[in-house]
């Protein structure tokens, strides 16, 4: 061990303690109290410095003694201020004898408000000492004789009120009384507390002696802990010695500003989509059933449109109207196909139902709005939209969540370019090289595909669903080119990237968790 460097590392508090030894002859033995007096350090600072020096083996404990010390508990202080149960019983018995009243043990409980356990303990002692008699009918009678323990109790309360005191300082009967009435496991309500006071005698180790010599010899060099503008200004830093730090210690924590890890993940997705030529779409949290479902050719009797699947708005319940020509065209598409080349669903479309306001349940609603707003062709669009589902909340279901969805329009859109686009997503979003396409079903696409990819860390997983929008969707909204509709299920990827297992933690209210969650994307 290179002792010089370790001496250089000494903290000012350590130096103070070492110097306290250095002042005396070699082999000086000092107690904690003596060190406190010499160094004038706060008890906490002193014990810190001693711990450090012991750890560095510059200081050793020569010997230690353990002394029981008695002190008053808050209850003891109350006894001192008012009086202890034994005193109250004795005086009550004397009062009763003086006035000729009967005093029973239940009286002590009810009138004096004393604890039954305290009463039986005190009465037993007073009877044994002959200060009290129990006569017929369970009445207590004072004998007029003195009670040594009552007097001893008062003396102890008095002394400990002034200052805690070593138990050894008390005469034998009092010591016993203290032990009997000391707080211990199972009897917390006692007037006295007995604690072990550890007294230590310290002496310098041989390395400590070397360190003291070094410290005292360097005492002439002015040591500073912090460089300051003043030192720089007058150049006096040249004459200073800078204390070396122990840089291997843990750094103190610092609060920083940063993005939420889940938003950060969504930001990377957003950036990737923009880099692939997608324009962002925005939509409304509240939508009509028309844009949320009807325009997507989901028949009004579709099971997913049930009261148990969608949140309905309380007030207003309905939109005033839906823009034409979309209502008429969509109505026809549902009823008989209209001009879409479809047979339709063959039922009577309810125009009122279409106006019902709901909380957006799928991001595809945003795509429907875009289709109706004369989108570019060729064109690519995406949205990261908050959606709401009527689900019991648990580890895998949230009532509101993000859906990453979009559309691609163009003359060259067909089933194979749909697969090509999905391949691109697999590579760019999930860094996957292997992809599997499975037939799937969505009410608004035909053909429909489900994409499974082999994620570098997650293995095979479903990355998303897609398809070519049905003509019953696009034509009524005024779009004549083929359109891909796609959606990515990214929550599982996000949860793995963030190291969480419960979907509710994505929106956690724990600042500590948010501050410490690290995303690996």
């Amino acid at each position: 061990m290179d002792t010089t460097s370790s001496f250089d590392n000494l903290h000012p508090l350590e130096i103070k303690v070492l110097t306290a030894f250095g002042a005396g002859p070699s082999g000086t033995v000092l107690t904690t109290e003596q060190l406190a007096a010499t160094t004038a350090l706060e008890p906490s600072q002193l014990s810190m410095a001693i711990e450090w020096l012991l750890a560095k083996q510059l200081l050793v404990v020569q010997s230690e003694t353990i002394t029981p010390v008695a002190s008053l508990t808050p209850l003891g202080e109350t006894y001192f201020e008012q009086s202890s149960p034994i005193e109250r019983i004795l005086s009550a018995a004397r009062d009763a004898s003086g006035t000729g009243k009967r005093l029973t043990i239940p009286d002590l409980h009810t009138k004096e408000g004393l604890d039954p356990a305290d009463v039986s303990k005190a009465v037993g002692r007073l009877k044994k000492e002959g200060a009290l008699l129990i006569v017929q009918g369970g009445c207590l009678e004072s004998t007029g004789r003195p009670s040594p323990s009552t007097e001893a109790m008062r003396a102890i309360l008095q002394q400990l009120h002034e200052a805690p005191c070593e138990v050894e300082q008390f005469p034998e009967p009092s010591r016993q009384l203290i032990q009997e009435h000391a707080v211990r496991r199972g009897s917390a309500k006692e007037p006295f507390r007995v604690e072990d006071r550890v007294a230590r005698w310290y002496v310098l180790s041989p390395e400590g002696t070397v360190a003291v010599n070094q410290v005292t010899s360097q005492a002439t060099v002015d040591e500073v802990s912090q460089l300051s503008p003043e030192l720089l200004k007058d150049g006096s830093w040249r004459r200073k010695r800078f204390r070396k730090y122990t840089i291997s210690l843990r750094a103190p924590r610092v609060g920083i500003g940063k993005k939420h890890p889940y938003r950060e993940f969504l930001d990377t997705v957003k950036t990737k989509l923009v880099s692939m030529g997608f324009k962002e779409m925005r939509g409304s949290l509240v939508e009509t059933e028309f844009w949320n479902m009807d325009a997507l050719f989901m028949p009004q009797f579709h099971p997913a449109r049930d009261i148990h699947d969608v949140y309905f708005v309380k007030d207003p319940t309905h939109a005033a109207k839906i823009a034409e020509p979309f209502v008429s065209r969509v109505t026809k598409a549902h009823e008989n196909g209209g001009a879409t080349g479809s047979t339709g669903w063959r039922y009577a479309f309810d125009g009122e139902r279409a106006k019902r306001l709901v909380l957006r349940s799928q991001g595809t609603a945003v795509s429907a709005r875009t289709l109706a707003a004369a989108p570019e062709a060729p064109g690519k669009y995406f949205s990261i939209a908050r959606c709401f589902r009527y689900d019991q909340v648990d580890a895998t279901h949230a009532t509101d969540f993000f859906q990453v969805e979009g559309i691609v329009l163009g003359e060259d859109i067909n089933f194979r370019t749909l697969l090509g686009l999905l391949n691109l997503f697999a590579r760019e979003v999930a860094q996957a090289k292997e992809v599997k396409f499975l037939p799937a079903y969505f009410p608004f696409t035909e053909p429909s595909v489900e994409m499974h990819v082999r994620h570098p860390r997650l293995g095979w997983m479903e990355l998303g669903g897609a398809g070519l929008f049905r003509r019953e969707v696009t034509l009524p909204l005024g779009v004549t080119v083929p359109v891909i509709a796609w959606g990515l299920g990214l929550d599982r990827m996000a949860m793995v990237a963030l190291g969480i297992h419960d979907i509710r933690e994505l929106f956690t209210d724990s600042l500590e968790l948010i501050r410490t969650t690290r995303g690996i994307f």
């Binding site: 609060g255 030529g277 324009k279 962002e280 949290l285 669903w345 037939p439 035909e446 994505l506 948010i514």
Partner: protein, 570 residues
Amino acid sequence: MPTISIFKDDLESLLDSRRAGAVSIDQIEEWLMLVKGELKGHNAETGELRVELQDSNRPDLWCCEGIARQIRIKQQGRLRAYPFLSKQSKPTQRVIVGAGMERVRPYVAACTAKGYRVTKEGLAQLIQTQEKLADIFGHKRKTVSIGIYQLQKIAFPVTYELVKPDEARFTPLGMETVMTLSEILMVHPKGLEHGRILAGHSRLPILRDAKRQPLSFPPIINSREIGEVRVGDDELFVEVTGTDLAMVVLTLNIFAVNLADRGAMIEPVAVQYPHKTPLGRQVLTPQDLGKPRSIRIETIERALGQALGGKTVTQALKTYGYDVSAAKSTVKAKLPPYRQDLMHEMDVVEDVAMSCGYGSFAPEMPAQFTVGGLSRIEQTSDRARELMVGLGFQEIISNILGSPESYSTAMRLDGTGWGKMVEVDNAMAVTFSALRQWMLPSLLRVEAASNRAFYPHRLFEAGDVAIPDTAHELGSRTDTVLGAVLAHATAHFSEIHSCLDVLFYHLGQEYSLEPVQHPSFLEGRAGHIIVAGKPVGVIGEVHPEVLERWQIGVPVVSFDVNLSQLTDRA
């Protein structure tokens, strides 16, 4: 999307009895792609397979027989013939429909099945198919319900007619005693569950045989005497009732081909109506209602992005069960009798792709050039988020759906304009029953839960809120709002004001503060943030009563800025 239970042995024997037990699970999973099925579970001991069928328009696939059929067609190259569907087949039995049925439950279809001895697996499938079809395809029995009976106990003709609720009585399945129809509606579990379908009708439907014995009370419950099928029965009567004739016939067709696939001889039944139906006064059931549709081969090729040729298209459709013939540039395709889901040409396109296998189409990149970009509001929001991070704030993210208690009551906003929000009519729990109308409660939610996280706390969130607005077509506007809070022992108005100031400087916005009496903030320490003469947000020291409600033990100062309004102005 029904999930059904089938048995591996049963599936194998329906495919090819010689191969029983020889098929691997991997093979089954591959086959399931033909039916948009996903294997959800497999019990190796019992051989039970849990299969989720995705296509809600293909009820024929929601059973073991249907899945096996689709695979078998692929293996054998074509659909087997079902002679009972030919127009020449002569019905031996009749069902007579009584007057007035058209107002209650107009249609019925029926057939008989003989020569198939019902096995344990077969019975389980019959019951499951009956339940799934009536529940999902038949909208909880409203449009379609199914009954199956022991044929030899029935004297033909069967009548389907209306009776007064107390006129007819029988022992229903699941009961020990004879009950009238009104008693069944009031007492029987199925009556309680489905009775509302018949609500408002003074006379109720009943199926009875020639000896006036009740078969069932559709769509509620069968008679115990005739309408309980057991393992070993080998003569069955199947009927379907409902409100849509096409759906009723389709459902019967599915049962007929299922039983035929298991070896039964199906005999059609003639249904006689007192009035005209879309299929005439007398309707023979089962019946193939499919009509051939001509599709240009080019349409299919363009949609799939691949030149296939008439031969490949014809072959693909034939091996998927279609009745198909090709002309020069078109195919004439008709769905098999157990399907009715051809609405658009594109439905045929998908079947071609599935029959060929999605794997046989090489992915190709869309080549046309497009320019990407973010919306203006997202750009503003991202810029604001960057600045907030630079100011030392931690971003949070919250549910938008929450409670009126936290968005308004705890903020002391009840009865004020600030407290108005979009509420949900059919909330599952009050904790998820309103959309947030501003951001501060979302931030207080985190602050309230984080008193053990070291201070100071500097939090922000940028996200959507819904602001009620009678002038808007949807009754509310969705705006993007930035909210920020500072919480620590000496948090102070000027501290958050400094943050707002530097934020607005870098967003390039001139603003001023105007004192406002806002119940969520201490009076005299709150202000509207004014841009171009209009308020775009609020800043202030959060009212101690609000902090108490949230059980927050340190002072909190905050601002809420409506970024959408800011962007619209810019």
